[in-house]
């Protein structure tokens, strides 16, 4: 890809984030120890350590390599066959060579001409209606 391989994020940034995470854990432990020994809540340390833990975890999650899904979704495509004379209708899986208005034989009910009426893919609805 381009000139040589794409380099990853600098080790420096990963080190900074890991150091931040370690420090915040130690600070949290100190805050807990202060509370246990002295009965005082070290508010500053607690807030700093919890927020820095959250920030470090968030940054690490952002940087982690996600597995890329490179497989393309297999589409289910259907062919609708209809008689030109009566109301006979048949739905089957799409086959290569099918096209709309192709004649595909005689109707088993009235011996009329069977045509491919439509070809479409089924879509699984992922989105829920929000009512907007």
């Amino acid at each position: 890809m381009g000139e040589g391989k794409a380099r990853r994020i600098s080790i420096f940034f990963i080190t900074v984030i890991l150091v931040m995470l370690v420090m915040s854990l130690v600070a949290l432990m100190l805050a807990v120890e202060t509370y246990v020994t002295q009965g005082n809540i070290d508010v500053m340390n607690t807030i700093l350590s919890v927020s820095t833990i959250a920030l470090s975890i968030y940054l690490l999650f952002q940087m982690r390599k996600r597995t890329l899904s490179l497989d393309f979704e297999a589409l289910k495509v259907l062919t609708v066959i209809q008689c030109t004379k009566c109301n006979y209708r048949n739905v089957k899986d799409f086959e290569k060579g099918d096209y709309i208005l192709k004649e595909v034989g005689s109707c088993p009910k009235c011996d009329g001409t069977l045509l491919i009426y439509s070809i479409f893919r089924e879509v699984k609805e992922k989105e829920k209606s929000t009512g907007i």
């Binding site: 890809m1 820095t52 952002q62 495509v77 799409f94 208005l101 893919r121 879509v123």
Partner: protein, 376 residues
């Protein structure tokens, strides 16, 4: 004795205070680093996101190339390996006409488009000598989809590498902001590969399907390049129904066809109705049908210009019937909602004809779109 007991108590708090001060200092240093290098960290994260998408784009590009080559070999049975030709085609460039002097620009653009279409089909014919006309058209569409994927990949890669070299936050931000839209479009092109390989109708063919339904069973004639017309009686009016010639992947020349019919009838046409697929807005349902006024023909504008010119010349009203679909549906295999939209469009066309014309009038109905998988 008192001080001896006191000493350990004093030392413990002191040690804790020193540790606390050290940690607070380190905290402050850490925040200063984030404050100074924060943008650099953000830039690195954005580059990482683009890199991930770039891997996916590369995979889609490679898949498009591979499908194009294998399909040409399967259908066309070439005597020599078409790989080198396909690779050349994927790097194909179209140079538009100069617009400094816009006089005659439509004519010049049309010439370039015609040469381009001819050149592309000619290359496909060379690569696939055993393919028939329908297969040639479908292979042309397939190569165009692969070409689009290649172009998208190269453009995103260009911005990614430029961003990496310059570490400019704003260069990277430009591509990062529109990356979700780019990925959506690329995935649509990737799905199109399958549709073009198998000759399945795509969402863009909605207009063509409307015309096919109206003209089925009637006599057809070739009116323009890759374009057929049929005379159909609708609600007591004489309707000229136009569509691209299928079932191969074609868009035809609907502009030229409408112009010819108008000239043949000396402008005595009561109404022109044009049906096409239109991009839906988020929140709209695919297959929704809307009506409007104007020439609903997409593309570079050559056909649209021709229809507008000739309709204005003769004072013929223009109506548009649009079937809404998303970008992911336009070049993928047609979905059921769009087929339902086609049925609804036919009802709308009949209503438009009933309400806006009288019996004995002549109307033109043009179904616009890629007619792959749709005969007539």
């Amino acid at each position: 004795m008192f001080t001896e007991n006191l000493a350990p108590n004093i030392q413990q708090p002191l040690t804790q205070d020193v540790m606390s001060w050290i940690f607070q200092l380190i905290w402050i240093l850490a925040f200063i680093i984030i404050w100074i290098y924060g943008q650099r960290i953000q830039t690195a994260l954005m580059l990482r996101e683009i890199e991930g998408s770039l891997f996916k784009l590369k995979a889609m590009r490679d898949k498009g190339r591979q499908i194009a080559i294998s399909t040409i070999k399967e259908i066309g049975k070439p005597t020599e390996d078409p790989t080198a030709r396909v690779d050349r085609l994927l790097e194909h460039v179209d140079i538009g006409p100069v617009s400094l002097d816009p006089t005659g620009i439509i004519r010049r653009l049309e010439h370039i488009i015609n040469v381009r279409d001819f050149r592309l089909k000619d290359e496909i014919r060379h690569m696939a000598p055993q393919a028939d006309e329908t297969q040639i058209n479908n292979l042309t569409n397939l190569v165009e989809a692969a070409l689009a994927l290649n172009q998208i990949y190269k453009i995103v890669r260009h911005y990614y590498l430029m961003g990496k070299k310059t570490l400019s936050f704003y260069i990277i931000l430009q591509i990062q902001m529109i990356l979700p839209l780019i990925m959506r479009e690329s995935e649509a092109f990737a799905r199109a590969l399958k549709a073009f390989t198998l000759g399945q109708p795509i969402g863009d063919g909605a207009g063509a399907l409307v015309a096919a339904r109206l003209m089925h069973g009637k006599e057809k004639r070739l009116i323009a390049q890759d374009t057929v017309v049929s005379e159909v009686d609708i609600e007591g009016r004489k309707a000229y129904v136009i569509k691209a010639k299928g079932p191969g992947g074609n868009v035809g020349k609907p502009g030229e066809a409408i112009k010819q019919i108008l000239e043949e009838n000396e402008g005595k046409v009561a109404l022109i109705i044009i049906i096409d697929a239109a991009q839906k807005l988020e929140g709209e349902k695919p297959g929704e049908v809307v009506e409007g006024v104007g020439v609903a023909i997409g593309g570079p504008g050559v056909d649209k210009y021709k229809v507008e010119e000739v309709a204005a010349k003769y004072g013929v009203p223009l109506s548009a019937v649009l079937i809404k679909e998303g970008i992911e549906d336009v070049i993928s295999t047609m979905r059921k909602e769009i087929v339902d939209g086609v049925e609804e469009s036919i009802k709308r066309i009949k209503r438009l004809i009933r309400e806006n014309t009288k019996e004995g009038d002549t109307v033109i109905i043009a179904g616009i779109g890629n007619t792959i998988g749709i005969a007539q």
